[in-house]
């Protein structure tokens, strides 16, 4: 064996010597990493049984299910929502009719930060980046004629995730669907809100309590619900590298598991419902390696650090979204091609579900037509490309395996560093994670500006362009409409019952031993608004204040 390695090494040395001069003639490509060719020598320490193994087998490098897409395809889940519940309901039904297999709700910023549409701070933002939800009444409209017993729904909601989940449970009750039949995900990942996404409300400690309350409540009452989607997506969007994306996110995951264990939960009672959310960025092979590395790291964390017994607790299941930050406002049709390549990465990386961005999203929310192209992109990759026919097709590639090892090693270095700081919460409080992300974002921008990095249509191959026509515009009157609906609802509801439910919630917030979910559910059922419920929690818990160092 060693003689074979020596032979390869000798041939590699000869090859490198022969191309050294030739490649020097191409200064345009000189910024690339030094290594141009990968051979068996790059994965000589990789052991198939220990490091790669089989799909559905620890450490799950090749995928979490034995069958992967030979069973069924990933869930094609298109993130959507804008304006009022009525408008968004129409879009959801259109997506379901077009073959989307799961829903994914986008909420407007006031909803994400726990304010009602009539709050002065909401002005100008109502219905803009997602649907406005003020109370159960809006949620009933949002899921009108959609059977919650059949559909699986992902909700991008974090700080007030408990409230939106309670509303979803209450809509299910009204449809006659019991909580144990509900399927879906709440994002519920507050730590990345502090480090990358910005829609936090409460300080870390009470936020972590809300999250563990949800873990506990769902493990008993809503067992098919994914209680958190630990998200690297936004960390990457904020500018991190691939290794940083998975490292910071897995460190967040470690913090959630530690908090839940500290709250007295058994790791195997909740860990199987943890899920992840990754970005599919431009560098296809690096991304595939990243997805594979993330599975291997999480499996080791859960087995070795937290001593999980159930296999399900060790499996990193993930949703993917193509990289919004890589869409260009210039020559927007080029984005269709970028999204197709990113889709290929997600599929070859073994994603469980996928949202594909639309070509016009660097300009505005997508139109129905461009959303259709994005969904069709997934369907073409699934049915026509052959990429989904074989499980983990890039395994064994010298480059992809070496890159998987490299990303894993880089991520472990960060995870250790964050452990030394005292965990993800401390690292965020000290601004460490934010600073690392900012530095990477700045480097990216400078590379684009210097030309070291080429973005087609942005810093190369530019053309004179006419402004894009036919962009989606959110009706400017949505704020007023929503205010009107809210006032009418408040006049109709039993206001004494609301007062009582809110007082009861406040008392529960004060008692750290109390699980808040049943109290929130009671308040939601009597049509207490999101702003009222979050207002009570703001009063008891206070609000997080960010400190940004440039």
């Amino acid at each position: 064996m060693s003689t074979e390695k020596e032979k390869i090494q000798a041939e590699l040395d000869a090859y490198n010597a022969s191309v050294e001069k030739a490649t020097a003639k191409f200064p345009e490509r000189a910024h690339l990493p030094e290594q141009r060719l990968y051979t068996p020598l790059d994965i000589k320490d990789t052991d198939y049984a220990d490091d790669i193994s089989f799909p559905g087998v620890y450490p799950y490098t090749r995928g979490v299910q034995p069958t992967m897409y030979r069973g069924r395809f990933w869930t094609m889940r298109m993130y959507a929502g804008f304006s009022t519940a009525e408008e968004s309901n129409k879009r959801y039904r259109y997506l379901i009719e077009s073959g989307a297999s799961g829903l994914s709700c986008a909420f407007d910023l006031p909803t994400q930060i726990g304010y009602d549409s009539d709050d002065p701070i909401s002005e100008g933002e109502v219905g803009k980046v997602g649907v406005a939800i003020d109370s159960l009444a809006d949620m009933e409209v949002l899921f009108d004629k959609i059977d919650l017993g059949k559909v699986s729904t992902s909700m991008t909601i974090n700080a007030p995730a408990s409230v939106l989940l309670a509303m979803y449970i209450a809509v299910g009750e009204k449809q006659g669907v019991s909580p144990d039949q509900l399927k879906g995900t709440i994002q519920n990942d507050i730590l990345k809100e502090y480090s990358a996404r910005g829609t936090y409300i409460f300080p870390p400690r009470p936020s972590m309590r809300l999250i563990t309350n949800i873990f506990e409540y769902c493990s008993k009452n809503v067992p098919k619900w994914n209680t958190i989607s630990i998200s690297g997506y936004h960390i990457r969007e904020a500018g991190s590298t691939a290794s940083q994306e998975i490292a910071f996110t897995i460190s967040d995951g470690i913090a959630y598991v530690e908090a839940a264990i500290k709250a007295g939960l058994d790791v195997d009672a909740f860990a199987g419902r943890l899920s992840f959310f990754w970005n599919a960025h431009n560098n296809l092979l690096e991304e595939v390696a990243k997805f594979r590395a993330s599975r291997r790291i999480w499996a080791k964390v859960m087995k070795e650090r937290f001593h999980a017994k159930k296999e399900k607790s060790m499996k990193l299941r993930f949703h993917t979204q193509t990289a919004g930050s890589m869409l260009t406002a210039q020559q927007p049709n080029n984005n269709i091609v970028r999204v197709a390549l990113q889709t290929a990465a997600a599929v070859m990386g073994g994603t469980q579900s996928l949202h594909t961005n639309s070509r016009d999203e660097a300009l505005a929310l997508p139109t129905e037509e461009s959303v259709m192209v994005a969904l069709r992109t997934q369907q073409i990759v699934a049915y026509e490309s052959g990429l989904a026919d074989v499980i983990d097709p890039l395994a064994g590639s010298y480059y992809v395996e070496a890159m998987t090892n490299k990303i894993e090693a880089e991520a472990w270095d960060y995870i250790k560093k964050i452990d030394e700081i005292g965990g993800a919460v401390s690292a965020i409080e000290q601004g460490y994670i934010q600073k690392e992300i900012q530095d990477s974002a700045y480097k990216w921008q400078m590379d684009v500006e210097s030309g070291a990095k080429t973005i087609v249509g942005v810093n190369k191959f530019q053309v004179e362009e006419k402004p894009v026509e036919g962009l989606l515009r959110v009706d400017a009157s949505v704020g007023e409409k929503q205010k009107g609906k809210l006032a009418a609802m408040k006049a109709k509801r039993d206001n004494d019952a609301v007062k009582k439910a809110l007082a009861d919630l406040e008392a529960a917030c004060d008692d750290t031993n109390e699980n808040l979910m049943p109290h929130i559910l009671n308040a939601v059922r009597v049509y207490a608004t999101l702003g009222e419920i979050c207002g009570v929690m703001r009063k008891v818990f206070g609000e997080y204040e960010a400190h940004t160092n440039l």
């Binding site: 910023l109 006031p110 994400q112 930060i113 701070i121 909401s122 002005e123 100008g124 933002e125 803009k128 980046v129 809100e193 996404r197 910005g198 829609t199 969007e237 904020a238 500018g239 930050s325 260009t328 406002a329 210039q330 660097a362 300009l363 505005a364 929310l365 900012q438 974002a441 700045y442 921008q445 684009v448 500006e449 973005i455 942005v458 810093n459 402004p467 894009v468 962009l471 959110v474 400017a476 960010a546 400190h547 940004t548 440039l550």
Partner: protein, 132 residues
């Protein structure tokens, strides 16, 4: 021109948490020799106007990615001017459809920078248009 540093307030009006652009621009402006103050997220127009006054800035540079710019950008201009800062250069950026730009300029936003703009363009624009 550069003897006295140009002071810039980089601000995030509204509720959106996407401040990658704001932070990258802030840092590029600082590297270009400006004095930069970043407000952080979720600033009301009132808070931004107040910060501009307190920090005695020459430029207010705002970023919005949520679509709330038609409401919030003009509001900031109005409040900054109401504070007596008649010459302060006010610029904006973010995910802003081309069609919205004329109205924003009419409302007093001197220039709108959309995705893909090199930071050097923003630096040049400020140097050319700032009144000191």
């Amino acid at each position: 021109m550069m003897e006295k540093h140009i002071r810039v307030l980089v601000a995030k009006p509204g509720l959106d948490g996407h401040d990658r652009g704001a932070k990258v621009v802030a840092r590029a402006l600082r590297d270009a020799g400006f004095e930069v103050i970043y407000t952080g997220l979720r600033q009301t127009p009132e808070q931004i106007a107040e910060a501009a006054l307190q920090e005695d800035v020459d430029v207010v540079a705002m970023s919005i990615l949520s679509g709330a710019h038609p409401h919030l950008f003009p509001k900031v201009v109005e409040l900054v001017r109401a504070n007596g800062m008649k010459d302060t250069l006010i610029i904006g950026g973010g995910v802003i459809p081309e069609g919205d730009i004329p109205a924003l300029k009419k409302a007093g936003i001197a220039e709108v920078f959309t995705p893909g703009t090199p930071t050097g363009d923003i630096v040049e624009f400020i140097k050319t248009h700032v009144k000191k």
